[in-house]
Each structure stands twice: as structure tokens, then as C-alpha cells.
């Protein structure tokens, strides 16, 4: 089979699986689980084969024109290069792991068929985005992902939290998608084609007329999809969805789509220094803000969500300094360890019966109950904090290195101020990342207090997946950093490996963060012992893990007074952040700001429109209706129903006519 056909099969298989699963879900429940797992797994294998066959060779392009679409053609185009094949492997891996994990996690869920179908559909859309060589086709996958995300975040639609979160996720990403669509059209109009190769060629020739405008429009979509400031607010709320969905969509793949798109279209962005500066500022604010916010969250999944935002900020920063290889490198390693973190968090929530770190810190022996989660999450948190020699260290190192390179003014097209911005923000974030990763680990696994109730042994499907994902978390970076530059093409002179300055700086700062958080944890131990707080979901031992999670999320606000935070004086994050803690816990009140800036004006405008409609327009309508009504009332008075009156009038009329005729004659 040709490489092209294999690559076409990769997105097609999960799509067919999704279609079959959604159609057969009700009538043949026995087929749902194979239909969910097997196509995704097959597509993972095929993606690996494609990656192996594509290798470090020249990019493969294939296109099929389905129909003529006027002046700007749209092709079903395939573009395989190092970036796309590797990301496809990552997507396949994470999707397969998530499907296997969901078998156990959602084993009793009545909506499992639609859930699995949507996950498969989502996987297909993401693979389409990755493989396609045409912006229009990419847009199709992009939007399908958006709608799948909406449905999956709202999986527990019985709960208010999930409904609100799904609508918010949809609206906020759509807010970015509208400028993105306009940007795509502008790009296509300028370049005369939607093929990415053609657009890149046009960018290289300087044929793009408004590179800054186009780049900024595209950035809006990227900020929405990849949860960058100021459109990141949907991602923490999206944690109301089931954990596997968070792992797949909101950590490893969909949020990476924006980064991937910028990486593919990087020449368009480097054509405009302003766009790069905006991207860098966006990345810097996102990184530092999300680091602070992550330190204050109480919900374990929200910590991870903010860390995702921060890591995506790293990638955006790498793109801002013009190094897409570093960005994609970090995307790959981050995808692996963040998926692991989320899936591990699912196990933790199931075992602890709560999603609150406060509650977990008051219970002992959680680590002993779930040793698999303890070890794998420990590894991946270390990877997140970029401790050597884990994958996160190498990929983050490549980002730091690229930023440092740019700050020295050595990168073409990139102002050194951009480099400095990214570098400083990345280093500050390294401290924060170290701190919140440590806080998460210590609070979750090193709590002291009454023994955790036994929820039974964790299902094999879940723990196996954790160890499978632990492999790339540990080894991917170290094994591949020498090879990847060949895959990614471009000037091979620059490696992706660590250099001394940034390694020492980055690792040192991360270690500082870890130590500070540990010290704070030790310092607040007495307070934690003195203030027992927390509540767990009481479910039978064999309850479905997803049910525990859904109830935990739903009751969090009820128990602790807020979805995001808890009034825990023994939280090391509270000690570290000091007065910032409160606002950090609420994402720096960005939602409230949006409420004031957008929601309330819109509501006010809506009530104005309602007033205009009800009281102004309606008045005219009533006035217009009043006159005929009066006339009608007058006519109605004549309709007495008395036949003699009618007949009298009739005959009187006849007499009058007769007189007229007689006189006239």
C-alpha cells in the first residue's frame, strides 16, 4: 500500500469507527467497545508505520480535487513531513490509551456509546488536521474538534457545572474561530490558494499583502483553541468533563492544534514582527499567570488544566522566537506526560473519592492504595517540572535555548526583545511549575490523616495505560533529541539538545521551585493537622470511576464554597502566594472582568432591545391596530343579529334605489 493511502486511512479509520459506533450504539451494544478501541488502535499502528516510512525524507504531498470551487481551489490534500507524522503518532497513542482507559473508567455509563463515538470522531478530526495540506480541510477538522469538545465537556449534562462549562468552551473557542476564519480567507485570497505549501511559498516571496493583519486574525483562533491568554478561560472550566476527555482533548491534542497550526504557518508569522511580539506577550502572560493560578487551585484537574495552559504558553513562546522545532518537540513530550497526568488524576480521584487537594491532604495512605498512580504521576510531574533526565527537561530546554538564541539577536526575523520576553517568562514559569508540581504531588500523595477508604483495586486497563504512557514520559526526550532535527528538516546546524547555560538556569530554577514548595508544605503541616476539612463522595466500592468524579466535581462548589478553591489555611500555595492567592484561585478574576466588559453590556443591550421591541415598536403596532379595531367595533354595533333590522335596512335601500331610478327616469 502506498504511503499516501496508508496516511489517508489513519484519519479514516477512527471516523468510520465513530460512525459505526454512533449508529450501532443502541441496537448492538456488544460492538461498541471493539468499535471504539480497535479503529483507534489500528490508526495508531498505521500512523507509526507512516512515520517510519516517511522518516526523515522529503515531505510527501498528495492532493485530490473533489470538485471545482471557483477562483480559489480547495483540495483534499495530504502533507506528510516530520512534524505531522510524529504528531499523528502522538495523537494515535494518546487516543488509544484514552479509549482503553475509558473502557474501565466509564464502564457502566449509559452514554458510553455516544461518548466513545465522539472520542473516535474527535481523534479522526485531529488526525485530519495534522495530515492535511489544505487550510479549508484543516478548518473542517478544526471545527469538528470544537463541536466534539463541546459534547464531551458536557458529558455529565445533568450537572449545572458541566452544562455551563460546555457552553463556555464552545462560545469562547468560537469567539476565536471567527477571526480565524476571516484570517484563513484573507490568507487564501492573498496567496490564491488554500494549500499550505502554496501559502508558505507566497509568504516566502512576500506576496502576502497584509501579513500582520492575517497573522493577528489567525492568532485569535490559535488563542481560542490553544487556550492562550486572553481566551484561556474555558480550559479550566472544561475540566467538568470526564477525565479521559480532559486527557485527550484538553491536554494532548486539541489544544495542541493551535500550536501545530502556527508551527505549520510559521513563515506567515515571521513575516510580521508585530505578530511575533503579540505572540510572545501572549505566551509570557499566559505562562506566568497560569503558573500562579495553578498554585492556587484546589481541584486537582484544574491544577493540571492551568499547567496545560502554561505549557502551551511555552510552545507559543518557542514559536514567537521562530523555532517551531522546539515548539513541536515540547508539544510531543508534553502530550505524553500531560495525558499521563490526567489519566493518573482520574485514578486518584476515584481512589480518594474527591477531586479536592485539600481533602486529599487530610487523608493518609493514598499512595499505598494506588502505587501505579503514585509512581507514574511522580515521574510525569517531575517531567512537567523539567527535571533531568526526563522528557520534559529536554523539550523545555530546547524552548529555553531557542529563546536565549533569539534574545541574543541571532535568530533571523525575530527581534531580540521578543527573545528576552519569552526567556524571562519561561524562567519565571520554571520556578512556578516546579512549585505547583511539588504542591500537587505532596498534597495528593503525602497527606496525613485517616486512612483512605478502600475503593477496591484499580482496573487493570487504567493502570496499564499509565505505565504505557510513562515510557515516553521518561525516555522520549533523552532518546530523540539528537534525531529530531533530521525529522524536522530545516538547518541541521542547530540541535535541540540542552546547552549548559539554560540547562543550569532552568533546572536550578525548577529545583528552587520544588524546594520552596516543599518547605512551605512542611511549614504548613501543623495547620493542616489542626484543621480537618474535606468531604469525600460515598459510593460503593465497585462504583464506576466516572461516577465518583462527576459527583465530586458537582459537589465541590457546595462543599468548599467555590469550584476552583477551598478555604484551606494549610495549603502551601496559600503561603507562597500570600495576598495573590485569592485572585489566583479565580484565574485573576478574568471571568469577572469578562462579565463586566462583555456579558453585562450584551445583557444590557438585550434588555434595551427588549424594551424597544415591547414598549416602542409594540406601541406603534398597537396604535396601527387600534384604528381598525375602533372601526370594527362600530361595524360590530350594527350586527345586532336581529333579522328584522337587516331586512328593514335592505328594503330601505331598495326603496331608495327605486326612488333614484324613478326620479332619474
Amino acid at each position: 500500500m502506498t504511503l499516501t493511502a496508508l496516511a489517508a486511512l489513519v484519519p479514516l479509520l477512527p471516523f468510520l469507527g465513530a460512525a459505526a459506533g454512533l449508529l450501532l450504539g443502541r441496537s448492538a451494544p456488544g460492538f461498541v467497545r471493539p468499535l471504539a478501541v480497535l479503529p483507534t488502535a489500528a490508526s495508531f499502528v498505521l500512523a507509526a508505520v507512516v512515520a517510519a516510512r516517511q522518516g526523515t525524507g522529503a515531505p510527501t504531498d498528495a492532493a485530490h480535487r473533489l470538485a471545482t470551487t471557483g477562483s480559489v481551489p480547495v483540495d483534499l490534500a495530504l502533507h506528510l513531513d516530520g512534524f505531522s507524522v510524529l504528531i499523528a503518532v502522538l495523537v494515535g497513542l494518546v487516543a488509544t490509551c484514552v479509549q482503553v482507559y475509558s473502557l474501565a473508567y466509564l464502564r457502566d455509563d449509559p452514554r458510553y456509546p455516544s461518548y466513545a463515538g465522539l472520542v473516535s470522531l474527535f481523534t479522526a478530526a485531529m488526525l485530519l488536521v495534522v495530515y492535511t495540506g489544505d487550510l479549508m480541510v484543516l478548518l473542517v477538522g478544526w471545527e469538528v474538534m470544537g463541536i466534539c469538545s463541546y459534547f464531551l465537556v458536557g458529558h455529565y449534562w445533568e450537572t449545572e457545572t458541566a452544562r455551563a462549562a460546555s457552553i463556555k468552551a464552545f462560545l469562547v473557542t468560537k469567539l476565536g474561530d471567527v477571526p480565524f476564519l476571516i484570517g484563513v480567507f484573507a490568507l487564501g485570497a492573498d496567496a490564491g490558494t488554500f494549500r499550505i505549501n502554496g501559502i508558505l511559498a507566497a509568504a516566502a516571496d512576500g506576496r502576502l499583502h497584509h501579513p500582520t493583519v492575517v497573522a493577528l486574525l489567525l492568532l485569535a483562533g490559535v488563542a481560542g483553541k490553544s487556550a492562550q491568554f486572553p481566551l484561556h478561560t474555558w480550559l479550566p472550566d472544561a475540566m467538568a468533563g470526564p477525565t479521559p476527555v480532559s486527557a485527550l482533548i484538553h491536554a494532548a491534542t486539541m489544544v495542541a492544534a493551535g500550536i501545530y497550526l502556527v508551527a505549520r504557518l510559521l513563515p506567515v508569522f515571521t513575516a510580521s514582527a508585530a505578530a511575533l511580539a503579540v505572540l510572545a506577550a501572549m505566551a509570557a502572560v499566559t505562562m506566568i499567570g497560569s503558573g500562579l493560578a495553578a498554585l492556587a487551585q484546589d481541584d486537582i484537574k484544574r491544577v493540571l488544566a492551568y499547567s496545560t495552559i502554561g505549557q502551551l504558553g511555552y510552545m507559543a513562546g518557542a514559536l514567537a522566537v521562530g523555532d517551531r522545532r522546539a515548539a513541536v518537540f515540547h508539544l510531543l513530550s508534553h502530550g505524553a506526560f500531560k495525558a499521563l497526568l490526567f489519566l493518573g488524576a482520574g485514578v486518584v480521584i476515584h481512589a480518594a473519592g474527591t477531586n479536592s487537594l485539600t481533602a486529599m491532604s487530610r487523608m493518609g495512605g493514598l499512595g499505598r492504595r494506588i502505587p501505579d498512580a503514585l509512581w507514574t504521576m511522580g515521574l510525569s510531574l517531575a517531567s512537567l517540572a523539567a527535571l533531568p533526565p526526563l522528557s520534559g527537561f529536554f523539550s523545555k530546554e530546547s524552548v529555553l535555548r531557542a529563546a536565549e538564541h533569539a534574545s541574543a539577536g541571532d535568530t533571523a526575523h525575530v527581534p531580540s526583545a521578543v527573545g528576552w520576553t519569552v526567556l524571562v517568562a519561561a524562567l519565571v514559569t520554571a520556578v512556578l511549575t516546579g512549585a505547583y508540581a511539588t504542591r500537587l504531588f505532596l498534597l495528593a500523595f503525602r497527606g496525613s490523616g485517616p486512612e483512605v477508604p478502600d475503593h477496591g483495586r484499580q482496573p487493570l486497563a487504567m493502570t496499564t495505560v499509565l505505565w504505557v504512557l510513562a515510557l515516553p514520559t521518561v525516555a522520549f526526550g533523552g532518546l530523540t533529541y539528537r534525531e529530531l532535527p533530521h525529522w524536522f528538516g530545516g538547518p541541521s546546524g542547530d540541535g535541540l539538545g540542552p546547552v549548559l547555560t539554560t540547562s543550569v538556569l532552568g533546572t536550578g530554577l525548577a529545583a528552587v521551585g520544588v524546594l520552596v514548595a516543599y518547605a512551605a508544605w512542611q511549614g504548613t503541616a501543623a495547620i493542616r493537622g489542626a484543621n480537618p476539612i474535606g468531604a469525600v463522595v460515598a459510593e460503593p466500592a465497585d462504583a464506576e470511576p466516572a461516577l465518583v468524579e462527576a459527583e465530586a466535581i458537582d459537589t465541590h462548589a457546595e462543599v468548599y464554597g467555590d469550584v476552583a478553591s477551598a478555604e484551606d489555611l494549610g495549603d502551601p500555595g496559600r503561603l507562597l502566594l500570600g495576598p495573590l492567592h485569592r485572585s489566583a484561585a479565580h484565574g485573576f478574576h478574568l471571568d469577572a472582568v469578562y462579565g463586566v466588559l462583555f456579558v453585562r453590556p450584551v445583557l444590557a443591550a438585550a434588555s434595551l432591545v427588549r424594551f424597544l421591541d415591547r414598549d416602542v415598536v409594540e406601541t406603534y403596532v398597537k396604535g396601527a391596530g387600534g384604528t381598525p379595531k375602533l372601526l370594527g367595533a362600530a361595524v360590530r354595533k350594527a350586527q345586532t343579529g336581529n333579522v328584522q333590522t337587516y331586512l328593514g335596512a335592505l328594503l330601505a335601500g331598495a326603496v331608495v334605489l327605486a326612488v333614484i331610478v324613478a326620479v332619474g327616469a
Binding site: 367595533a633 360590530r636 336581529n642 328584522q644 328593514g648
Partner: protein, 135 residues
């Protein structure tokens, strides 16, 4: 004989019938007035037939037909009046106002046993207000 005599008599009889139809309250009296009008026409027909000396005797034949039709009409009319009287308890024409356009929408105009009730009763104004509210 002058044709004017029967013609004027017919005209006056007809107008007396008209008055009766318009002024009488009892339906049977109205029917009597209708008979007067028909007879006025019959008188005209006979008079003009005699004046014209019609070889077909059209006037007299039509008079016979009119008498026949009048008999049929009076039978049917009385049956209707009886039916109305049986249903409404009254044969007064000016109280049979079910055809009136009521001031407000009522459930249904048909089959209302007290159709002759006061058309401006309190129920109508309430219905009027309801119509305002829904409009």
C-alpha cells in the same frame, strides 16, 4: 275597469305586508305578513293577465303556482318556527340574535340556549378584556 285600481291596491297591500314583516315580533305574524305580500303580487298578476288578455294565461298560471309555493312556504315556515320555539322557548324574531357579532369572542355561537339574552351582559365585557389581553 281602470288598471290603476288593482295596481294601487296591490301596491298598498304589499306595503302593509312589508310593514308587518318589519314590525311584527311573533314569527307567525311575520309569516302572515308574508302571505299578504304574496297575495298583493297575485292580484297584480291576475289584473295584468286580464288586461293583456294573454293567450297563454301566464298570469293566472303563475298565480296558481305562487299559491302553491305559498302553501309550501307556510308549511316549511311553520315547521321552522315550531322547531325554533321548541329549542329556544320563544318564537320572537327580535330575540333570535345568534347571528349577532358578539362584542368579544365566545366559546361558540352555536347551541347557546339563551341566545336571546342581553347581548351586553357582564360576560361579554369580561370576554372583551380577555381579548385585549391576548391581542
Amino acid at each position: 275597469m281602470h288598471l290603476a285600481y288593482p295596481a294601487v291596491l296591490a301596491a298598498l297591500l304589499f306595503c302593509v305586508g312589508v310593514y308587518g314583516v318589519l314590525a311584527r315580533r311573533n314569527a307567525i305574524l311575520v309569516l302572515m305578513s308574508v302571505e299578504l305580500m304574496l297575495n298583493a303580487v297575485n292580484l297584480n298578476l291576475v289584473a295584468f293577465d286580464v288586461w293583456l288578455r294573454d293567450t297563454l294565461h301566464a298570469g293566472q298560471a303563475l298565480t296558481l303556482f305562487t299559491i302553491t309555493i305559498a302553501a309550501a312556504e307556510i308549511g316549511l315556515g311553520l315547521a321552522i318556527v315550531l322547531l325554533v320555539y321548541r329549542n329556544r322557548g320563544s318564537s320572537d324574531i327580535d330575540r333570535l340574535t345568534a347571528l349577532a357579532d358578539p362584542a368579544g369572542p365566545r366559546g361558540d355561537g352555536t347551541g347557546r340556549p339563551g341566545a336571546g339574552e342581553d347581548p351586553d351582559g357582564p360576560g361579554t365585557t369580561a370576554g372583551d378584556e380577555k381579548a385585549e389581553a391576548t391581542a
